[in-house]
Amino acid sequence: MQEHRPTWFSKLPETRAILEAPLPRSYLNFVGTWLLGFIDTVRGLMAFGLIALSVAVTKAGVARRVVRPLIRAQVYRAGVRLLPMITFLGVALGLIIIGQTVSLLTRVGAQGYIGTVMVTVVVREIGPLLTALLVLARVGTATVVELGTARALGEVEALEALAIDPVHYLVVPRMIGLAVSVFALTVYLILVSLLSGYLFAFVQDVPLPPGEYFRQLAAALRWEDFALLALKTIGFGLMLAVVTCFQGLARALRIEEVPQATTRAVVHAVVACVLLDALFIVVYLLI
C-alpha cells in the first residue's frame, strides 16, 4: 500500500510547512505599498474631483464667452466625432449579442424574455460601459497627453499668471463635455444596437413581429431605467474627465513622464468606471 503512493506525496508535509510559515516580509511590503498607493490615488482623485465640481458650480457664469466654446469643442470632439465609431460598434453589438440572443430565445420558446434580457444587457450594462471605454480610448488618452504636456511646458502657470483658473479653463469644459457626450453616445449606441439586432434576427427568419419586439422592450423598461441611465452615463463622463485631468494636471510632470501618466490614467479610468458600474448594480438590485 505504501508503494502505491505517488512520489510527490512524500513531499506534501514540506509544502504544508511552507504554507504555514509566516508570510515573508517582502510580500507584505509589496501588498502594503500597493494598497497605500491605491488609497493615496483614490484620495487625490476624490479631492481633485470635488475641487473641480465646486469650481464648476461656483464659476458657472464666469467668462462664459471663453468657456462655452471650449465645452462645445469638447462635445464635438468626444461626441460628434465619435458617432461613426459608435454606429459601427452599435451594429456589431446588435449582430453579436442581440441577434443571437433573440434567435436563441425564440428557438427555446422563451420569446417572452427578450425584452428583459435586452434591457438588462444592453440598456443597463453594456451600452454605458462600452461607450465610456470608447470615449476613454479616443478622448481620455488625448486629454492626458494634452494637459500633461501643457503642464510640463509651463502653460498652466501661464494661465495662472493671467489670473485664469486652470481648473475652470481646462477641467470644467472637459467634465461637462464628456458627461454630455457619454450620455448622448450611450443613448445612440443603445438605439442602434437594438435596431440592428432586430434586423439581424429578422433576416434569420425569427418569427417575432416588430411590434411584439418593441412592445416587450417597452414593457421591460421602467422609468428608473431612464433616470439611472442618465445618472450612470453622466457619472462615467465626469469620472473619465476627472481621472484623465488629474493624471495630466495634478503633479508637475516632466515631458518624458507624460506617456506613463497616460497609461496610468487608462488603468485608473477603467477601474473607476467598473467600480461605479458595480455601485449601480447594487442600485438596480435594490429597486
Partner: protein
C-alpha cells in the same frame, strides 16, 4: 534725493523677511532673507546666476506662488489674507513675461493667445476685443503674425507674443524673466527701447509710467536702464541700491554678471 522719492511713492509689491522655494522642492528655500519693496514707477533689475531661483522669485512676486516663509503684499494688501477672487483681481494688475519663448498656449494662434485674458476677464463685445488685440500686436510689432500658431513664429519673436499677452490687460506692473535670453543684438535693442518707453510712460498706455522688474543673468544691457538693483547671491537677497551705488559696488558677483565673458568659478 532719490531715496526720499522712493519713500513717497506707494509700494506695489512687497516681500518682507520672505523665502522663496521651487515647487519641486518646497522644503529647501532657494532664496532667503528677502526684504524687497517695489514702489510705483520703479525699475528694478535683479541679477542672479542661471538656476538660482529668479523665476520662482518672480512667480512669488506676481502672486502665483506662495512664499515659503514671510509676507507678500500686492498693492499694499497681504496676499495670504486675500480670497481667491480678490487675489485674482490684484494679480491682474501685474503682468508676467516668462522666459524662453514666453510659455504661449500652443493650441491657440498668436491673436487668440493675446485675446484669451481679455475674453476671460473683460465682458467686452467681440469687436472691442479684436481691436484691442490688433492694437497690442501692432504695438509689439508682430501684427503680421496674428493668425499663426506659436510653433510657426520664429523663435526670436516668440517672447514678444508673451509680452503682448501680458500687456493686453493693461497691467500697472510688468515682471520680465530674462527677457533678452537668446536674442540677437537687434532684437535686444528693440526690447530695451520698448521697455524704456514703457518705463517713461508709453502713449499707448496714456503716458502712464509702468513699474518694471527685470530678472536677468546678464546685467550689461540693464545698468543704464535700471533705477534699483539687487542680486541673488548664495541663496541670499542682496540689495545694491540705486544706479550710482550699483555702479560703484565692487561685489564680485555683480562684476561677474557685468563681465563680457563668462568667467569660470
Amino acid at each position: 534725493m532719490e531715496a526720499t522719492d522712493t519713500i513717497a511713492r506707494p509700494c506695489v509689491i512687497e516681500l518682507l523677511d520672505a523665502a522663496v522655494s521651487t515647487a519641486h522642492a518646497p522644503e529647501t528655500p532657494e532664496i532667503e532673507g528677502i526684504n524687497w519693496r517695489v514702489s510705483l514707477d520703479d525699475c528694478w533689475v535683479i541679477g542672479a546666476r542661471p538656476g538660482s531661483g529668479k523665476s520662482d522669485l518672480l512667480a512669488v512676486a506676481a502672486g502665483l506662488q506662495r512664499p515659503a516663509r514671510g509676507e507678500h503684499r500686492l498693492f499694499g494688501r497681504e496676499t495670504a489674507a486675500l480670497g481667491e477672487h480678490e487675489l485674482a483681481q490684484e494679480r491682474l494688475r501685474v503682468g508676467l513675461v516668462f522666459e524662453m519663448g514666453g510659455r504661449l498656449f500652443s493650441h491657440l494662434t498668436v491673436a487668440e493667445n493675446v485675446a484669451l485674458p481679455l475674453r476671460y476677464h473683460r465682458d467686452w463685445p467681440e469687436e472691442q476685443v479684436q481691436g484691442r488685440v490688433a492694437a497690442v500686436l501692432e504695438l509689439t510689432g508682430i501684427a503680421h503674425l496674428a493668425e499663426r500658431t506659436p510653433a510657426r513664429v520664429v523663435r526670436a519673436l516668440q517672447p514678444r507674443v508673451g509680452l503682448a499677452r501680458a500687456l493686453a490687460l493693461n497691467p500697472e506692473v510688468l515682471l520680465l524673466d530674462n527677457p533678452l535670453a537668446g536674442l540677437d543684438p537687434r532684437q535686444a535693442r528693440w526690447w530695451l527701447d520698448f521697455l524704456a518707453a514703457l518705463a517713461a510712460g508709453h502713449e499707448f498706455f496714456e503716458r502712464r509710467r509702468m513699474t518694471l522688474v527685470v530678472a536677468s543673468d546678464d546685467l550689461r544691457p540693464w545698468m543704464e536702464q535700471g533705477r534699483q538693483f539687487a542680486l541673488v547671491k548664495d541663496h541670499r537677497w542682496l540689495p545694491l541700491g540705486g544706479r550710482e551705488a550699483a555702479a560703484a559696488c565692487m561685489e564680485p558677483l555683480l562684476r561677474e554678471l557685468l563681465a563680457a565673458e563668462f568667467a569660470a568659478e
